[in-house]
Structures are given as structure tokens and as C-alpha cells.
Amino acid sequence: MTPARRILRSLVVLAIVAAFVGSATFAAFRGTTANPNDSFTAGTVAIGDNDAAAAVMNLTAAAPAQNSTGCIAVTYTGTLDAGVRLYASLTGTLGPYLTLTVTRGSIPTPSFPSCTGFTADATDYLGLGAGVIYSGLLSAFPTSYATGIVDPLAATPETWITSESHVYRFSVTLVNDNQAQGRSQSADFTWEARNL
């Protein structure tokens, strides 16, 4: 090997070593922090009842003063805190001759439409008795969310949370009025929850 080749070979080796050493020289400490697994899910607003699509009250060919009473359990199943209002869809002409009382309370083991074991809320929301949230003619019952009965109708509306449940006792009575003869009425009651 000629001296020139030896020098060239030495230079190549030196260049390779310099590359490694250089990278080591310029290497620096560094640190990072990460925020992994961000995920996004929307909450829910959902409410259900135990009627299995059956009516809570029923009067057929009723006589004056005849009454029908039933209880329905309403459960909030959403994840967002919500306020609830109660209103109805009314059809017919018997409404002005039907008095309705709705009382909020609880039953340890509800079984639709039984009111066995019903205990009214202790609060007298309207000055009409413990737990009463509506008492009047069916025809005057609120028919929209805007005018609906805030649950309960008190200074501080109830904030419904997941799995919260309340029982409502409905009691309807046909008034003793000759004008009621032959009339009919239907009502669909709705509890609407909206997140707060």
C-alpha cells in the first residue's frame, strides 16, 4: 500500500469516527410530556316511565262523581342534570267536566298502575295538600313545555340526576253536571326533561 493510500484510508476512518463523535457531541438532553387518549362524548337527557304504553286512568261510561286513580313512576336515565316539566295533549270535550289532581310522591316498589304504598311528598307545593302539583279541571292542564308544570312547582325546581325516580298519583273525577252527558276526552301526559 502506498503512503498516499494509507493516508487516504486513515482519513476515511477518521471521518467515520468524527461522524459518530460529532453526533454524540451534539446530542442533548431533552424531555417531553404528552396528553394522550383525549376522548369526547356527549351527555344524554333521557326519561322513562313504567306504563308500558298503558293508560294510568280510565273512565268508561262514567256516572257523576265516578273516579279513576292510578300511579306512574317516572325515572330519569340521562347523564346530564335536568329539569322536568309535565304537560298534556288533550283531545275531546269532556275536559271541563273532569277534575284532576296530580300528587308527587314515592312507592318503595312501584307496580303500574297500582298506588299501593304511595306516600306523597311532604312538601305542600301549592297550598293544596302534601305533594300536590296540580289540582283543577283537566281542560285547564298545561299543554306545552313552555307552560308545563315545573317539577315540583316550588321556589327551587327539582334537579333530576341519573336514576332519580318519582311517582305521580293521578286522580280524575267526573263532575256532577248534566252538560257532561255523552261527552268524551282523551289525554296524553308528557314529562319532558331538558338539561340545565
Binding site: S39, G48, N50, F112, P113, S165
Partner: protein, 171 residues
């Protein structure tokens, strides 16, 4: 010349051995204990069904392939006036354990579901609950065979969603 070749080969082998020793020596060894998988199953009432307890019905913080299944349970009560066909569906929060966990749900002698969490998204077999009656469901959760390695360190919270359909009354 043969002596030089032998020396070169010996040097190459020594270098290779040194590299191998260096690599093996710096390899991060696996810790002696494998990480557990954690699973929580929750349940909440619907309008038609009451459940007991609400919230966590099975909580397993140490799921491993070689351990017995985690156990849990809940009671479902029909609070309507009609017989209900009830089934359950899985609603995982993350789905991280979807294919790793095997879940078995029984009601008495009947097996309502036996499979992965992933497949439970489609729902279990239904069971009948009479008005006012209750059914006790038992839950068994374990790691699926061969999924222990994959499940390590993973966790998920899975809501067991109850759905019910009134059974038509037969005349």
C-alpha cells in the same frame, strides 16, 4: 496468510459476540408481575325496570388470564303492569377490552349471554319478567383465552343497558 485470515475471522466473531452481549445486556427485561386489566360493569334503571344495585354491578381490578372469573350481579324488577321481555346490551366507555373480556350472564339456569364484550353490543338473549316480579342476574367476567397479553394494563367501564318490550297478551 492463513494465520492472518484466521485472526480476521476470530476478530469478527469476537466483535459479533461483544455486540450481542452488549445488546442483550441493555435489553429492558419484563417485570416479574404482569399488569392487570380492570373492568367495571354498571347498570341503571329504566322507566319500566328497577335495578338493584344501581351503579357498579361488577368491579374487577385484577383480571388476569390465570385467575378465576370476577363475579357480580344485579336484580331486575318489572315495575309495569305488563310482562316484559328484557335484554341487555353493552355500552363500553372506551372499548379497550372489547375482544379481551369474556362475559357470561345467567338468570337462574338460563344462560343469557356467553361471549366477548364486543358481541354484547348487539344484545343478549331476552328473558321474561312478570309484572311486579324480579329476576336475579349473575355476571362472570374473565379474560378470553390467549388475550391476557393484549389486555395488560387496559381498563374499561361498560354500561349494561337494559331494554324491555311488553310481551303481547295471548288471548
Amino acid at each position: 496468510m492463513p494465520t492472518l485470515t484466521i485472526t480476521k475471522v476470530a476478530g469478527l466473531m469476537l466483535g459479533a459476540a461483544a455486540c450481542a452481549a452488549l445488546l442483550l445486556g441493555t435489553h429492558i427485561t419484563r417485570p416479574p408481575g404482569a399488569l392487570d386489566a380492570a373492568l367495571t360493569l354498571t347498570s341503571s334503571p329504566t322507566g319500566e325496570l328497577a335495578v338493584e344495585p344501581t351503579g357498579a354491578v361488577l368491579a374487577a381490578r385484577d383480571l388476569q388470564a390465570d385467575r378465576p372469573p370476577a363475579r357480580g350481579g344485579l336484580t331486575v324488577r318489572n315495575q309495569t303492569g305488563a310482562p316484559l321481555d328484557v335484554s341487555l346490551r353493552a355500552r363500553p366507555a372506551s372499548g379497550d377490552l372489547d375482544d379481551d373480556v369474556r362475559l357470561r350472564i345467567t338468570a337462574g339456569a338460563a344462560t343469557l349471554y356467553d361471549g366477548t364484550l364486543a358481541a354484547l353490543r348487539a344484545g343478549s338473549r331476552s328473558f321474561l319478567v312478570q309484572p311486579g316480579a324480579s329476576r336475579r342476574l349473575k355476571l362472570l367476567a374473565s379474560l378470553s383465552p390467549g388475550r391476557g397479553e393484549n389486555a395488560q394494563g387496559r381498563s374499561d367501564e361498560v354500561a349494561l343497558e337494559l331494554t324491555s318490550t311488553p310481551r303481547p297478551l295471548t288471548p
